[in-house]
Structure formats: structure tokens, C-alpha cells
């Protein structure tokens, strides 16, 4: 079985993608969130289109806030969302 990650989208991002989660294959050269985003942009043009609308997008890996340099591994849960607005 090949490597994969679960990707989650919340709020405006979820609505733009039209889905809240998906499973995405992870190629061997994807080591960080930055690599993951680059690969996704190349594989899926809607990804680029949606993400360009969320310049302040945040990322969490396995439910912990991360950034472009956060490592990505097989089985991880990667969540993308706009800045949080609780309270």
C-alpha cells in the first residue's frame, strides 16, 4: 500500500473545495508542508485557485498548529483553514 495523508478543510476553505476531507497519496519526495502544497498545486489546478483566495491560510498537522516547514509523514492528518475566529 502506498503512503497517504488525510487532508481536512474547514470553514471557507471547506466550502470552496466542496468537501471537508480527502485522502491524498504522498510521494516520496514530499517531506514538509511546503513540499505537500507544491505537489498539490501541480496535481490539481482547483487547489491553486482556491488557495490563492486564502492568503492567510493556516495549517495544522496531526491537530497541532504547524507551518510550511512542518514535516509530513505517511498517515498524518493535515488540516488547512482560514485564521481562527472563536469566542
Amino acid at each position: 500500500m502506498s503512503d497517504s495523508v488525510t487532508v481536512l478543510y474547514f470553514a471557507g476553505l471547506r466550502e470552496q473545495f466542496g468537501r471537508g476531507s480527502e485522502t491524498v497519496a504522498l510521494s516520496a519526495d514530499v517531506l514538509t508542508v511546503k513540499d505537500f502544497l507544491t505537489a498539490r498545486r501541480q496535481a490539481d489546478t482547483t487547489f491553486e485557485a482556491v488557495f490563492s483566495r486564502f492568503p492567510r491560510m493556516r495549517v495544522a498537522v496531526n491537530k497541532v498548529m504547524g507551518d510550511l516547514s512542518t514535516p509530513v509523514h505517511n498517515g498524518d492528518e493535515i488540516a488547512f483553514f482560514p485564521p481562527m475566529t472563536g469566542g
Binding site: 470553514a11 495544522a60 491537530k63 481562527m84 472563536g86 469566542g87
Partner: protein
Amino acid sequence: MSSQENARRIRVVVQPSPFDMGTETARLLTLGPDIGGLGSFLGVVRGGGGLVALELEHYPGMCEQSLTTLAEDALQRFSLVGCTIIHRVGRLVVGEPIVLVLAAAAHRGAALDATRFLIDRLKTGAPFWKAEEFADGRRVWVESRQEDEAIAARW
């Protein structure tokens, strides 16, 4: 403090249903006679501009985890006897409570500082998102306020 001891002193809840301030306050007061003051903040859906309701979305699991970390941070930073964070999710109409934070300490200064710390940090530091629903049918995601991020960063 051990994490078991923390667990007794911290209460974090994310739920669609309402909560009761009196019950929550009484629960904190059972933590013992070291409490001299209890601060709280209750956030409410404010009306105006045709707003009908807020729809609160959250990231299950991460949400509880973020709020627990926040509560632990407050507990240590302000030497609290205990603290409580309750955040509602789902559709909440104007006038309904959204969030409650409570902080109990020996003295009023710490209790009130911790209350403000908890709500300031919660605003931009826990995975909740709000969509506004208006009388004319519009539905708009609330943008995070730069001011709120600056306030949270001050601590």
C-alpha cells in the same frame, strides 16, 4: 503539578447545547477554600446590521486539545486554583451565549488577569470559525480581526 491534578482543576467542553453559569461557578468553587476570587467572561451573539445567527464550525479533537493546552497555560501562569472553558458550536441566534471562561484564584488580580488571558487567546488560538447569517439571506465568514491577533500576541 501532575497531569492528573491538572485534570481535576481544568474543565474544557465543546458542545452545541447551552451551559449554566451558576452550575459552572459552583463546580469551580468545590475545588476548595483557597479560592478568594473567580473571574468570568461570557461571550454572546451580538445583534445589529441584520444579523440573525452565527454558525460556529470547529475542528473536533484539535479544538479540545487547544483549549486544554490554553487552560493549562493559564493555570500555571496565574497560579489558578482552577479554570473552565466552555465553547458552543453549531447555529446560535442573537442573544445566545457562545463561550464561557472562568478562572478561580486566591486573589482578584490573578482571577481577572487569567480571565482576560483565556478569552484573548481563545479568540485566535483555537480552531473555531464563525459564519454570520443575515436576515436578507447572506451568509458571510467572519474574518479574523488583526486587532484580536495583536491582543492575543501581547500576552
